[in-house]
Amino acid sequence: MRVAFDIIKEIIRLAPVIKGTVDSVREALATGKLEAVTPQGEVLTREDVLAEFDKLVAVQHQVAADRAQSIEDRHRDDN
């Protein structure tokens, strides 16, 4: 009885620490600081996805510039 009481007392004492740890892990996951691992062992960080996004933005800019220039060239002397 006494042991059970001590265990419960210890759990209550540690509860804020456990909660803090769980919260930190959740926050780290959400912000990308802690990275997930696939069953195949591949790790994909938020930065990996961001790097792919940056490549897309570079291409988007190039395409936008090319197509805009194409229209400008065709219609420069319209007026």
């Binding site: 959740r26 960080t45 996805v49 897309l56 800019h61 197509r67």
Partner: protein
């Protein structure tokens, strides 16, 4: 009197809750899992990265379509239609009077639908939000594909079909055909 006051209080709580739920839905937060598991985050990221890669490849093909159009002996109207359809997806470096006159309303690159959807893909942590965003990517690209396929120029139709094929994986993700936990 006390009963009436309690009822009023309960109605106020219910109304606040309803308002909070409506606002969450309106801001798109309802589709995001609050505390995703490690597997959910990883699964969504793997798919998001691949969709971003396909989108990049798709934009390159769209640019090639524009370059091809430039060389073909076809009407200026078709050339403009293709270039404008691409610019509706990518946005423009700078909105100019000529571009607005030829294409109508255009937005700058940072406000382009494809950029906004891609930004959301970087932050997805769950399959539900991933699929919502993938639908936005395809919603931005589809009018361009249709424009190429229906241009009445065989070379452009072929590029339209190629562009469509590039997004095969993305369409699979949207249809739920790709495993996402």
């Amino acid at each position: 009197m006390a009963k009436k006051s309690k009822k009023k209080w309960m109605v106020a709580v219910a109304a606040s809750f309803g308002l909070a739920v409506s606002m969450a839905c309106a801001t798109g937060k309802a589709v995001t899992t609050a505390n995703p598991t490690t597997d959910q985050v990883q699964s969504a990221r793997v798919l998001a990265k691949q969709v971003l890669a396909e989108t990049r490849a798709g934009l390159k093909v769209a640019n090639e379509a524009g370059n091809l159009v430039k060389q073909l002996p076809i009407s200026v109207a078709i050339k403009d239609a293709v270039d404008c359809a691409v610019l509706k997806v990518t946005g423009v470096p700078q909105v100019t009077p000529v571009l607005t006159r030829v294409c109508g309303d255009l937005v700058t690159e940072d406000k382009a639908p494809i950029r906004i959807a891609a930004q959301k893909l970087v932050n997805v942590t769950a399959c539900a939000s991933l699929r919502t965003t993938v639908a936005e990517v395809l919603g931005a690209i589809d009018p361009l594909m249709n424009k190429l396929k229906e241009a009445g120029v065989p070379a452009l139709s072929a590029l339209g079909v190629s562009l469509d094929a590039i997004f095969a994986f993305t369409r699979q993700v949207l249809a739920g055909g790709e495993p996402c936990v």
